[in-house]
């Protein structure tokens, strides 16, 4: 029953006016892993995730989704795909619970399924006692967790997270990663983008993005060895 999705990009191009945000990008996002798209600000991370989520149209190249190794139409993947934007995208005047109920209705979840998932999510994010609080009054870390909960409520098979830990304190960031580890497994493909180099080592696969190009891809240790450096910080310093 469980389908394993993969995403394959081939010579993907995206331009905004004269700026080329994604420049002939070829990338394999293999099924069932926790992938990290690592790159400095302006590398094209957000554009890449938006292209994958179907929110932008490529100017050239292709994005191919696979389901159990076979090519799949995006419209078939869309219901299984959840995306969390990097920008603030929640409603400050609605509470956590009201957000969950709103997204429950959009995903058309059955009441018992919703109850079970909501209480599990509120449990692992430890936001249970804040469920009645307005999202505009939450801390940065809690806010990101609510965004993640809204995306996870539909139990996606593909989860695209755009800089979910940006602007979050170190302790909340660690919590967030623990949450991602709990979620990751055989049946979910997680792609997370980040500008924090230390987070690269937490991923099972990293894709280094710079100026819209993929400069290295693979397991973190392999990438470091290939570039002959000790850490990702060092790698970027060397390149700069």
């Amino acid at each position: 029953m469980n389908i394993r999705y993969g995403i394959y990009l081939d010579k993907l191009v995206k331009r905004f006016g004269l700026t080329t945000a994604i420049d002939s990008l070829t990338l394999a996002v293999e099924p069932g892993l926790l992938h990290g798209v690592i790159g400095p600000d302006g590398a094209g991370k957000t554009t890449l995730l938006r292209l994958m989520a179907g929110l932008l149209r490529p100017a050239g190249g292709t994005i191919t989704f696979t389901a159990n190794g076979e090519n799949a139409d995006f419209e078939h993947v869309r219901p299984q795909l959840a995306y969390m934007p990097s920008r603030q995208s929640l409603y400050p005047d609605l509470s956590i619970e009201e957000h969950l109920e709103f997204f429950k209705s959009l995903y058309q979840l059955a009441p018992d399924v919703y109850r079970e998932r909501a209480s599990r999510l509120l449990g692992i994010t430890r936001l249970e006692r804040f469920r009645g609080r307005k999202v505009g009054q939450l801390s940065g870390g809690m806010y990101k967790k609510v965004g993640l909960m809204c995306a996870l409520l539909r139990s996606p098979a593909v989860l695209l997270l755009d800089e979910p830990t940006n602007g979050v304190d170190p302790i909340s960031r660690r919590e967030f990663w623990e949450l991602l580890y709990q979620l990751s497994g055989e049946h979910i493909l997680i792609l997370i983008s980040t500008a924090y180099m230390d987070e690269a080592e937490r991923c099972s696969r990293v894709h280094l993005l710079d100026s819209g190009r993929c400069i290295a891809s693979g397991e973190p240790a392999q990438v470091l060895a290939g570039e002959k450096v000790q850490s990702f910080d060092e790698l970027w310093m060397k390149r700069a």
Binding site: G54, L55, Y83, F103
Partner: protein, 375 residues
Amino acid sequence: MKLIGGFVPFRALAVARKEFMHVMRDPFTIAMAVGVPVILVIVFGFAIDFDFRGIRMAVYDHDDSRLSRQLSEGFSSSGYFTVIDGRSPGAPVTEIEDGTAAAALVINPGFEKKIARGESAPVQVIVDGSDNQKTGVVGGYISGIQKAMTVKLAGAPAYEPIAMRSRFVYNPELNTQWFIVPGLIVIVTGLLSILLTALTVAREWENGSMEMLLSTPVTPLEIIAGKILPYVGLGLLGITFVYVIARMVFSVPFKGSYVVFFAACLLFTTTSLAQGLLISVVTRQQQKAMQASMMSGLLPSMLLSGFIFPIESMPVFFQYLTMILPPRWFMIIIRTLFLKGTPVEGLAVPFFALTLMTVILITVAVRKFKRDVEP
């Protein structure tokens, strides 16, 4: 990519429910929805009056006879004029120039004698022509008083070549409020629906939530339907408010059918909502959406709908221009329903025009509403 991926009423309702929560929690929206009708009714209902009363008139009575005094009393007892003594030794225009009077009446010596002899006795009336609106009305008063005073001072003429008797139907006393207040329904609905819808969708873009929404299964049509539903309610509430004020406070008659009235209100509200939607889909920013709503919503409905300025007296180009403005058609329907009560067939053209515009606006808005975040 498909434009509209189906329509699930349940999801549209979820959007509507969320939108309703926003409305109830946003003091600005509530203030707009309640405040705009109240302010408009106060300004236009009470302040605007085309009946001018107590117009100051300087009287230069050079005859100083019984009949000449009766003539100036005729002006003051009409209620339209407040008579003051012309004291300027120079020209009678002085009072008009320095602003103490808006009109002057000059009665020449020998006025009484001429009337007694059965001759025509010329009397000069000078009116400040700097305010066209006022001058036109005052001209009407003067000729009315002239006729009445002729009969009073010289007796009814034995023979009247053309006996013209006018009677005004629908609004016999030409009551300004009867004319203005029903028209406010058009202004209030148009403004509220256009502005509030434009703001709500633009807000969704501005605070980034549209990006999240578009990545869920909800379709553009569901978002649109859900977003406008609460504002249809607000718009109808505004209409009810103006209706009650018109009937209770200003005693405006209502001769038409309530079913037609309700249908017309619903139709026009939808037209306006579609217009607001189109604005927000194109601008995607609250500030711009607000300006565009004012320009395309408030100005045409105030100036080009026939609300105050008659369309017939506009240059030909503007007469044609008003045809593509929904408020013009709704104004006809509303005034007809309140004052005339024509059966539906008489309103077929305005109804058809509004329906056509609604269909066009919604089609364009839905087409422009893309399921992506392309700039």
